[in-house]
């Protein structure tokens, strides 16, 4: 049970970073944290008590296998998360060269 609470804490930390922090880099870090908390949650869903890794090998019977589907899903979401973080970092570098600041409250040329 405590693992799920850890997930929740991580999720809330990430949300706090995104909503409250003013530095662009910290916002991106918050995004990464929130993504990893969901990945952790997915892995925990597939876990079975005293389960083992779901790898078949010759002449070996694994009685208590964890659910392999969430692990495959998590691999994909990690790749997607990587792509999002890369886009965000590239944007932040460009933004810094245009605005000379990382402060999100000072990056306000759009109105309305």
């Amino acid at each position: 049970m405590s693992e799920y609470f850890l997930c929740l804490i991580l999720f809330c930390t990430g949300l706090y970073c995104i909503l409250r922090k003013r530095n662009i880099i910290k916002i991106i870090v918050g995004l990464a944290i929130i993504e990893y908390s969901v990945n952790l949650f997915l892995i925990l869903i597939g876990y079975r008590f005293k389960g083992r890794a779901p790898i078949f090998a010759l002449g070996q019977e694994i009685p208590n296998m964890v659910d392999p589907l969430p692990q495959a899903v998590v691999l994909t979401t990690i790749v997607i998360g990587l792509a999002v973080i890369v886009v965000a970092v590239a944007l932040s570098v460009r933004i810094y060269s245009k605005y000379k600041t990382f402060d999100i409250t000072k990056i306000r040329r759009l109105r309305g």
């Binding site: 995104i18 662009i24 916002i27 995004l31 929130i34 993504e35 969901v38 949650f41 997915l42 869903i45 589907l69 969430p70 899903v73 994909t76 979401t77 997607i80 792509a83 999002v84 886009v87 965000a88 944007l91 932040s92 460009r94 933004i95 245009k98 605005y99 990056i107 306000r108 040329r109 759009l110 309305g112």
Partner: protein
């Protein structure tokens, strides 16, 4: 070759071939993207008879059974969206032939655009929720980069906000998928709906999942509490990109996924439908009133998109077959005329160099074609009788009265008048009045930009013909797919 997989293979192959060879071979991108766009549209039209007669087409990857593998399914709703997406993308690719000349790395734009189309088609086709999520992210990431394509300060800022809010939405959706998987132990949509229907006691989990999905897809569709990113992103992007983002992307990623998840997978409850009605009304009213105050043409259109998506969500929230028909018809019409208006805005910006309503004036005599097509688009979106937009709004309002919400129907009609007001402001500001001397020697946009505008303008009138009995099956099969 199975035709359904081609909807994803063609744009992906085009994108990677352009990324590989676009710098070396001049015009390769132009040729390939236009061929791919036309091919995809023809392919989308070719599946219409099959879907109307057989109801559901399936494609299995690697011959796995539907439940185990990730398969593609087309029913009436997917068919409608596929036709709309590929039509708009095909025309936008023709338009960007000359519009995107001002950027030096046009092939990057074309590759990213094709990736986005692959993502959109994938979202429409996928039969399990995780595949839907993957394609949704593919389309979103391509969208983030395309918004920032001009690398101006405003575009970067808008794109950064879009990235953060978009990925927050994706996280909500992924969390919902995780909880749904833990509840049903499967990712296939049809399977999930069967298992949910067979469980007698459902507890609070499904409500929580519904809230997560509503927040996630609501952010993607820019419903009113989550709309802040849309005016920035859609007005800073290059015009063909704004046309696609406003025309099809928010509908595919937001509205279509919302319909698919709530109507076909989780199942609707009266609470959820009320929620949709309230969100729809809020978006309708807020979008319309914010649009009046704008002086930037594209920003006005972007707020108008929020308002019109509000109509669609409102119609879906009413939930009767007639209302769903009106909502889906309005979705189709909005894709046509909002793309048209953004393409007009691009043409105006290209010839006049500005999109500020206070500086533009009297362009009608210099730009006869742009002004007449923009008139068609504006009249259609504000619901003036012979145009297609009138019929869809009329159906929505009649359905609201029939379902016993006369006050909501009145609000929808009033918002339609407000829409007319700000589109008249746009018409009066840009096209009427005396021509300033600064614009004395501007010329009409080139042919490749005129052609898509004319086609879309014709469609924005002819769209009303879809309600005739002989063409009605196209919309009816989509309604049946939603409500089955």
């Amino acid at each position: 070759m199975k035709p359904l997989a081609l909807f994803i293979i063609i744009p992906l192959a085009t994108a990677f071939l352009i990324a590989l060879l676009g710098r070396r071979i001049k015009n390769l991108g132009d040729v390939l993207t236009n061929m791919a766009g036309a091919g995809l549209f023809i392919l989308a039209c070719s599946i219409i008879p099959g879907v109307i007669s057989h109801k559901v087409l399936t494609y299995k990857t690697g011959n796995w059974p539907v439940i185990l593998g990730s398969s593609f399914i087309v029913d009436g709703l997917s068919m409608l969206l596929l036709v709309v997406i590929n039509l708009v993308c095909c025309l936008v690719m023709v338009y960007s032939l000359s519009y995107m000349e001002k950027y030096t790395d046009k092939w990057n734009y074309q590759a990213l655009f094709m990736l986005m189309i692959a993502g959109l088609n994938g979202v429409i086709l996928s039969a399990d929720i995780f595949t839907l999520y993957v394609f949704l992210e593919l389309a979103s990431i391509a969208g983030y980069v395309l918004v920032a394509f001009s690398t101006e300060a405003e575009a970067l800022e808008a794109s950064f906000r879009y990235t953060i809010i978009g990925s927050l939405a994706s996280v909500c959706i992924l969390l919902g998928i995780a909880l749904l998987y833990s509840f049903t132990s499967t990712l296939n949509m049809a399977d999930i709906s069967l298992i949910i229907a067979s469980r007698s006691q459902q507890g609070q989990l499904l409500n929580f999942v519904s809230v997560l999905f509503l927040a996630g897809f609501g952010m993607k569709a820019a419903l009113v509490p989550f709309h802040a990113w849309l005016p920035d992103a859609h007005s800073s992007a290059p015009s063909p990109v704004s046309a696609t983002l406003s025309g099809v992307v928010i509908k595919t990623l937001g509205v279509y996924s919302l319909i698919r998840i709530f109507f076909n997978v989780i199942g609707t409850s009266s609470n959820l439908l009320n929620c949709l009605v309230i969100l729809g009304l809020a978006s309708m009213i807020a979008g319309a009133f914010l649009a009046i105050a704008q002086n930037d043409i594209k920003r006005m259109f972007a707020y108008s998109s929020i308002s019109q998506v509000g109509y669609i969500i409102f119609a879906l929230g009413i939930g009767t077959p007639l209302a769903v028909l009106g909502g889906l018809f309005h979705l189709l019409n909005h894709a046509v005329f909002k793309s048209l208006l953004f393409l007009n805005a691009g043409a105006i910006e290209r010839v006049a160099g500005t999109r500020d309503l206070t500086k533009l004036k009297g362009l009608a005599e210099k730009l006869p074609l742009t002004s007449s097509t923009a008139l068609f688009g504006s009249m259609s979106i504000s619901g003036v009788p012979p145009f297609a937009g009138f019929w869809s709004k009329l159906i929505i309002i009649i359905a609201a009265i029939e379902a016993g919400h006369p006050i909501f129907a009145l609000i929808a009609a009033l918002v339609s008048i407000v829409t007319l007001v700000y589109y008249l402001k746009f018409q009066a500001g840009v096209f009427f009045g005396a021509l300033p001397s600064a614009f004395a020697n501007i010329k009409e946009a080139p042919l490749t930009m005129k052609m898509p505008m004319v086609v879309l303008a014709v469609l924005s009138v002819a769209g009303g013909l879809l309600l005739l009995p002989c063409c009605r099956e196209f919309l009816q099969s989509a309604v049946k797919a939603v409500l089955s």
